[in-house]
Symmetry: none
Subunit: 280 residues, 2 copies
DNA sequence: GCACTTGTGAACGGCTTGTTATCAACGCTC
DNA sequence: GAGCGTTGATAACAAGCCGTTCACAAGTGC
C-alpha cells in the first residue's frame, strides 16, 4: 500500500573479495513522514548499496516479518499514541531485528523505556543522517558478530561441487585437492559461469590487487586447475580460453567437439541465470 | 608492548559460546574521572548485580583482555589526544566487547568516527545514568541475542566423545586429560566438524580476542591436541591441516593410506548420512 | 610467415606449518 | 610465603608446500 522502494546498485555478485568479507545488502525500512529527512537518508543508504523501503505508518507485524529486514528505523511521532504498543509488539516478534527509534524531543524516561522494550538505539531529531546511518551500522555489526557464520551455498557444475566452507571442490565425495589460490580461482570462475572474465579482472579479484604487466600467474593457475579437473572429471571440460580476452567457466561434455562448432554449448551451460553472451 | 602476561584463568568463552544457559553477572569497566558521575552509575550497576571496575586511564589492551569484560564505558576526555587511537586499538583487539563512549560535548563527525571505528554507542554528557545503563543493556542484549547455534551437549567423533559439562574429552571412559584451552579448541573444532576453520576465527573464538600477527598459539595447541588424540586413539586421525587456511576436524581411520588414493577421506568425515561408497 | 598470445614444465625461493624447548605465571601443598 | 608441578605464551629451527617466475613450445590471428 504505502511502499516506495529504492534498490541499491546491487552488483551481481562480488562474491570473491579477497579477505572474504561477506555482506549481503542491508534491507532497511523506515517509518517516517518527513520527506526531507527521508531524502537525505536515502542518499546515504544508496551510497552504501543498501535497500531502502519507506513506510508511512504502522505495518502489521506479519508484513514486517515477510520483508526480511536487516534494520528498522521508527519515528514514534508518526505512529501517535499506539506507537509504544506497536514498538513493543515489533520488538517482541522480531527480537533479532535491529530497531532504531529516531524521533523528536524526548525525555530520559521515554528513551529508557524504548530501550527496555527492546529498541537498540534512540536518536533524537533533528539529527544528521550520517549519524543515523553510522548507528545502524554499529548495531548491525554487533548483531552480525554474534550471529552464526552465514552458510554459503554449494555450487554445482557438471560433475564437480564447490563447497565454500571447506575451501575445496569435489567430484562426488572425492576432493580435488585444490590449494587456496586454486580454490579461489575456481570459485570466482564458477560463480560467474558462462561469462568471460578478463585476466586483469580475475587477478584483481583473486589476488586482491592489480596485476603487473606480463604476469602469467592466472594462466599458470588455470593450467593447474584444468589438470586437476581433467584428472578428477575427465568426461567434462570446464574452463575455456577466449583468445586475447580471458577465460570462461562452463561445464561441457568432453565429446562435444562437434557441438562447440555449432554453438550448441549454450544448451549445456545450465545453472546460471546470468545472461549468457557467447563470444563468437 | 607485550608486558603484562595475563594468561591465568582466562575464560572469555562464556559470552561467545554459552548461548543463554546462564547469565553471568555483567562485568563492566568504566574509564572516567568524574567521581560524582561514577557514584550514581555505580549505584545502578550494583542494583542490577553487575560487577563494576573503575579505571582512571588507558589500560593496556592485554589487561583489558584479562578482565574478561562484558562491556566498557569510556570518557574520551579523560584519555586526551591518544584517546582515539586507544579506542581503535581496543575495538580492533576485542570486537566482541561492547564499547560505549560517554563523554562531553561532541560533533556529529566525532560521533560518527567513533561508531565507525567500532564503538557501539555514543552518549553525550551530561546524561542520566539510567539511560547509560539502559543503553548498555540494549547493546549487550543485541550481542547475546544472535547466538543460537545450539551446541550439541555431547559430540561423538570417531572413538572420542566430548562432554562440555565436564570440560573434558574421553575415549570410552578414559579421559584425554585435556587442559582448558585444549578442550575449548577441540570443542570448537568438533562442533564444526567437516568445516575448515581459519586460524584467526579459531583464535577469536577460543582465546576471545583478535589474534596478533605472527601468533603461532593455534598451531602449538593443535599439535598438543594431535599428540593426545594420537596417544589415546591411534587408529584415527582427527585434525587435518588446510595449508594457507586453517584446520578441519574430521575423524578418519588412520590406515587410510590406501583409502586416500581413492578419496575415502571425505566419505568418512562428518559421520553424517554419508556412507562409504567404494570408488571404481 | 610473423608477431603476439597462450600452454606447459620445471626450478627457485619464500612463506606456512610442524616440532621442540624455554620461561613466566599460576595453583597447589606444606 | 617458599617450593614444586602445571599451564600457556613465545621463540627458534626444520621441513615442506606453494606461488612466482622463467624458458620454451604451441597456438592464434592478421
Amino acid at each position: 500500500m504505502n511502499t516506495a522502494y529504492t534498490a541499491g546498485v546491487t552488483t551481481p555478485q562480488d562474491e570473491s573479495h579477497a579477505p572474504g568479507s561477506r555482506t549481503a545488502p542491508l534491507r532497511l525500512a523506515i517509518i517516517d513522514g518527513d520527506s526531507g529527512f527521508l531524502q537525505v537518508v536515502e542518499k546515504r543508504v544508496r551510497a552504501r548499496g543498501w535497500q531502502q523501503r519507506i513506510l508511512t505508518g504502522a505495518v502489521p507485524v506479519d508484513e514486517l516479518v515477510s520483508m526480511r529486514l536487516g534494520a528498522l528505523v521508527v519515528d514514534l511521532a508518526v505512529l501517535g499514541a499506539p506507537g509504544w504498543a506497536y514498538l513493543e509488539q515489533v520488538c517482541a516478534a522480531l527480537p533479532a531485528l535491529p530497531v532504531i527509534v529516531c524521533t523528536g524531543p524526548s525525555t530520559v524516561a521515554q528513551r529508557v523505556r524504548a530501550l527496555r522494550i527492546g529498541a537498540d538505539d534512540w536518536l533524537g531529531k533533528p539529527c544528521h543522517p550520517e549519524e543515523l546511518v553510522a548507528r545502524i551500522e554499529a548495531i548491525v555489526r554487533r548483531g552480525r558478530l554474534a550471529a552464526p557464520p552465514v552458510e554459503r551455498p554449494i555450487v554445482e557444475a557438471g560433475e564437480i561441487s564447490i563447497k565454500p566452507d571447506q575451501f575445496q571442490a569435489f567430484v562426488g565425495t572425492r576432493s580435488l585437492d585444490l590449494t587456496r589460490r586454486e580454490f579461489e580461482l575456481i570459485r570466482l570462475l564458477a560463480g560467474n559461469a558462462g561469462q568471460v572474465l578478463e585476466r586483469e579482472a580475475i587477478y584483481q579479484r583473486v589476488w586482491g590487487y592489480a596485476m603487473a604487466h606480463g604476469d602469467r600467474s592466472v594462466d599458470v593457475f588455470v593450467r593447474k586447475l584444468r589438470q586437476k579437473l581433467e584428472r578428477a572429471s575427465p568426461q567434462w571440460r570446464y574452463i575455456h580460453t577466449h583468445f586475447g580476452v580471458g577465460y570462461r567457466f562452463a561445464p561441457e561434455p568432453a565429446d562435444s567437439a562437434a557441438a562447440e562448432d555449432t554453438g550448441l554449448e549454450s544448451a549445456v551451460e545450465a545453472f546460471s541465470e546470468e545472461t549468457y553472451a557467447p563470444v563468437s
